[in-house]
Structure formats: structure tokens, C-alpha cells
Assembly symmetry: C2
Homo-oligomer: 212 residues x 2
């Protein structure tokens, strides 16, 4: 089996990258890492669009199959490595609550963030784009309030057990400060960042991005 | 076990509603249906927010547990009813491709649609809201091109086998005409709507919404 992750520094691809490194802690999965230069729009070039026509990162290529969308990739990685820290609960509702958290990150929190610099997905008008960007500190703060009050158990997202929610939250939380969120309001998220930074998987992934 | 679906006519709750009716074809799951009046903002009222603080539909309540987010709900329903048409593939990658499709619907296609009337999730400015609304025919047409060219196998989303992707696509496709999409360009989606309308689950769900 050949496995390749296409990702980019600063992207949500960090979630799947950390998940791959969590698996590597058990020595079970070799994979190739391809870092795209998003500043130079490499993800929008014809080479990459032949792989992923959505022109977004990340993509996970397993043999000839292309898998996209972070929530799907995280569950896939957990399922192929049940001996790793990513292991999923057998109980359908416990699994569903993990999926629900990750779905909220992808369809609400990440989307709120995307309105900062990617507003042209939805509108061309310059004034409208500026209005979308200006509102991001408010919408991302609202997302953090929702996450802290209702969804993050602490210290890990699901409580005392690490899960595939944690790399995903960590990847998105990395944007909060530059999104204008006052992190001092959000102690659970700050603590989560701190404990994630102690993990070998996170250290490895971040070193690979820096040297890439 | 008590199961209750909170949904509303015209909402993406239709996907989980159809899934529940698919299960009911095998006679295995009684559930209660609660229809909210979104025109009168019932989903934003304190009664419903005590159930689902996101103030969105749908919510699935199983005993005391509240489950939100359509991709998570569909997989949960499939897992508790493996004898139904919703049955998931055992192969992790085949399951991942189903999840990837549904994640794309929730984080890209549904979000493009939401910019028509729900732009105030991201901006308050009236001119910006009007610009977002005006662009919806273009963004939804782009989504349909992507779905037809790359992701819908036909006749069902995954090819010859019905899956949890189908109720979800059907629910979102119901919005396309009013979103200003020229449906004559999208034969796979039109065919999909037609075969979905022949299913008992779809007929039952739509009757319940009309009489609700």
C-alpha cells in the first residue's frame, strides 16, 4: 500500500498529518508527504487539480484512490489503525458524537474562518469581501463560545480520551489568534493547544512543515 | 429506546427523515417527528435552543442524547440498522468515499446555498448580504458541475447501490431550482431526483411534512 498526503503549511491538512504521525507512533504506516506552496497557488495548478479537482488541500492518496475532506480522512485513518491512539469507539452514538464534533468544525468553524481570505468562494464584490473579512473576529469568537460551552469536554475534546477530534480542533485553533479572537476568554481551547503541543505526533508534523 | 427527529419543511432535515423512513421499511425503528416552524423562528426560540444550542435543524434525540449534524446522523442511523438499505460498506475506503461525499455536501454545497438567505451568519452589512444572495445561482451551478463531473456515479450517488449519500443529495437538490440553477444542464441530478421520488421512504417523509 502506498499512502501520500498532499497538504500545505497553515492549512487544515495539519489534522490528517498529525493523525498519520499518531499512527506512526505505533510504527505501522509509511507515507509520503507532499507540501504544496499555497502562496504561489500550487493547489490551483493543473498538476494538483488532476489529483483533486476541488483544488483544495488536503488530499490523501491510497494506492490509486483519492480521498478528500478532513472528517472522512480522519475516520479512514482511525479505521485502518485501530491499534493506534485514533481508535474509534464501538458504540454507534459515541462514534456519532465524534463525527458530529468534526462535522461542526468543517461546516461551521472552518467556514467562518474561510470568510477572512476566501470570501471569493461566495462573492466577487470588493466591498462585500471587505465586510466579510471584517466580521471574522466576531464569528470566530462566537464559534469558540459555542465550542467551549457545549462541545469541548476537556482536557481532550471528548474528555479524558484522545480522539480524532483533537488533531482537527488543534489545526483550526491555530488560526484563532490571527483571526482576532481573544484567547484569554477560552481556557479549554488554550489548554488543549498546550497538551497537543506535548505530543510526539504534533512535534513531528510541525517540524516537517517547517523544514518542508 | 426513544428516538425523536426535530426537523422543518424545506430544511436539510429531510435527509435524516428519509433515512428514518428507509429503516422503517424494515419495521425496526419507531420514532417521533417534531416539525418546527422556521418561518416563525421556532428553531431560534428558547425551548428548542435548550435542546440544540446551535439553533438549527435537524436534531436527533436518542433517549437523553442529542445528536446534530447531518453527516453524523446518517452514519449513526446506518450503523443501528445494518439490515436496512442504509447499510455501510465494511471496507474503510469505500466508507470513507461515502463520508467524503457527505462532507462535501455539508461544508461546500449546503454552505453555498446558505449564502442566499443566511448570509447574516457571516456579515451584517446590507449591501454585502445582497451581493452574497445575488451570487448564489453561480456558486450553486459550480457545485452542480463538480458533483456531476466528479462525484455522482449514477443512478445513485455511489453507482448501482443506494447509500446514505442519496437522501442527503436529494434534500439539497430540492433547493437548486429556487437557487437559480438551470437543471437542464444536470442530467444525473435530475435523474437522481426522479428515482428518489419513487421510493416509499421519500413519499412517506414528504407526506408527513405536508400534513405536519
Amino acid at each position: 500500500m502506498t499512502t501520500t498526503l498532499y497538504t500545505a503549511a497553515g492549512s487544515v491538512g495539519l489534522a490528517s498529518h498529525i493523525a498519520l504521525e499518531e499512527i506512526n507512533d505505533t510504527g505501522k504506516l509509511d507515507y509520503d508527504l507532499v507540501l504544496l506552496d499555497m502562496q504561489n497557488n500550487e493547489h490551483r495548478g493543473s498538476n494538483y487539480k488532476a489529483i483533486n479537482p476541488k483544488a483544495r488541500v488536503p488530499s490523501l492518496i491510497v494506492n490509486e484512490t483519492v480521498l478528500t475532506e478532513t472528517p472522512a480522512m480522519l475516520v479512514y485513518l482511525a479505521q485502518i489503525a485501530p491499534e493506534s491512539s485514533l481508535v474509534l469507539p464501538d458504540d454507534p452514538m459515541q462514534f456519532a458524537l465524534i463525527q458530529s464534533f468534526n462535522s461542526y468544525l468543517c461546516s461551521t468553524v472552518h467556514i467562518a474562518h474561510a470568510h477572512k481570505y476566501r470570501g471569493n468562494r461566495w462573492v466577487d464584490d470588493e466591498a462585500a469581501l471587505a465586510a466579510l473579512t471584517a466580521n471574522v473576529p466576531k464569528t470566530m469568537t462566537d464559534c469558540c463560545i459555542s465550542l467551549e460551552e457545549h462541545f469541548i469536554e476537556g482536557p481532550w475534546v471528548m474528555g479524558n480520551t484522545f480522539s480524532i477530534c483533537d488533531p482537527y480542533l488543534f489545526s483550526i485553533a491555530a488560526w484563532l489568534e490571527s483571526n482576532g479572537v481573544d484567547m484569554d476568554q477560552f481556557q479549554k481551547i488554550k489548554n488543549h493547544q498546550e497538551i497537543m503541543l506535548t505530543r510526539n505526533s504534533v512535534k513531528s508534523a510541525m517540524q516537517q512543515l517547517q523544514s518542508g
